[in-house]
Symmetry: C2
Subunit: 237 residues, 2 copies
């Protein structure tokens, strides 16, 4: 797929550490964005050539990605982009809904006035962008909305964990965007979340947020059926 796409010598003579971090993040983005599809083989030498470094930093990047669960490294058989089973996907969505709900609960209790205003602004941005009918831009605005909620939890660990899970699922959620009427629903749900948080209603915020990010029942079925086959692993091995 990306075999012939050799970007000519990136050549960042600035900071060598920068290069290593950039490597991991770059591969990360390629996975999140779908440029690297699940099941795709990650050849160490090939990546090394592509990025103009040796195999050592490539291996280090791959190891970190494996720790994050984004790729799978089978001993002596190399690394492939992780594909997950339908069960795993459902379970991860389930946990994510509860973690986002937890974030909303904390945020409702802890947000400072300035943060509450930022939440309203982020929500308003979503409303404005929804009118443009540009799913990509709305996707980004929605992401920021959730980031504002994370920041309001005043709990960096919860923030980080939730964000990691959200990122991990992002390549799957992407396919949800194009469902008709999804954006309108999403806005209404945001509205309920904002109202509850501004009112300091922790339970209400949690419930509203859980409903917003919840992907189960028919919604889950629809999502799974829209996924390209590579994204899912056959359950029985």
């Amino acid at each position: 797929m990306a075999s012939g796409v050799t970007d000519p010598s990136i050549k960042t003579p600035k900071d060598s550490r920068r290069r290593a971090e950039g490597l991991r993040q770059r591969l990360e983005r390629e996975i999140f964005s779908g440029a690297l599809l699940p099941g795709e083989r990650l050849d160490e030498s090939g990546l090394a050539r592509r990025f103009g470094v040796s195999r050592t930093p490539v291996r280090e990047a791959l190891l970190q990605l494996a720790s994050a669960g984004l790729i799978e490294m089978r001993p002596r058989q190399g690394a492939v982009v992780a594909a997950i089973t339908v069960q795993q996907l459902l379970q991860m969505f389930e946990v994510m809904a509860d973690m986002e709900a937890l974030c909303a609960r904390y945020a409702a209790r802890r947000m400072a006035p300035a943060e509450r205003q930022a939440l309203e602004r982020a929500h308003k941005a979503c409303v404005d962008l929804a009118r443009r009918r540009d799913p990509e831009q709305y996707y980004e605005a929605n992401r920021i909305f959730h980031e504002v909620v994370y920041a309001g939890t005043r709990n960096a660990y919860l923030e980080e964990t939730t964000r990691a899970l959200r990122n991990r699922l992002s390549s799957y959620r992407r396919f949800q965007l194009h469902q008709p009427g999804r954006v309108a629903n999403s806005l209404a749900e945001h509205d309920a979340v904002v109202a509850a948080i501004l009112a300091g209603d922790a339970d209400g915020a949690a419930t509203a947020m859980r409903a917003h990010v919840s992907v189960q029942g028919e919604v889950f079925t629809d999502l799974v059926s829209m996924l390209p086959p590579q994204y899912l692993q056959v359950t029985a091995s």
Copy 2:
């Protein structure tokens, strides 16, 4: 991971990959057990000599530990066992309480009859061991009790995440054991959790479990004051 599917013959009796994993796990245990104290420097060459391998696998192990948050790698300055701030510790305990509560909630809804019996057995084992006044053994029985709850969630991702956080905090919780009366309290709390789960009371199970693992207020203060100074990082950096 333990989703019921049996692994298709792991084989590899002498797999060299095994050695690298053993390396990571060995360092992990040394950190959890307190053999390696927070702030302690992890010299790559030294570890390589100690384990009889070259620096390469050592570096790979360190990178994985860094991904798990157990150590901290500052560029060009080497790795040290992670010490966290009081704020971070409080936040992690907070999240852990909610995640364990979530586990209990799921378990109350989903445990099969056989699993409920296993829960009762695990609880009984705790009661029996408490009489022996052996904190270490009780600690282990308590761990198993929680593992049974995890298994009852039927959500491998939640299970794995919660376990990882629990392990991460284990070296801090260890100091809590020796508080007088802690074991008796713990048993009473287990009792409430078991009762709620057996009754299928999801909310009650969550509340009881949160109360059980919750470390805040005076309990948190006591815990922090019992920690050796290395375990905590000075807040201002």
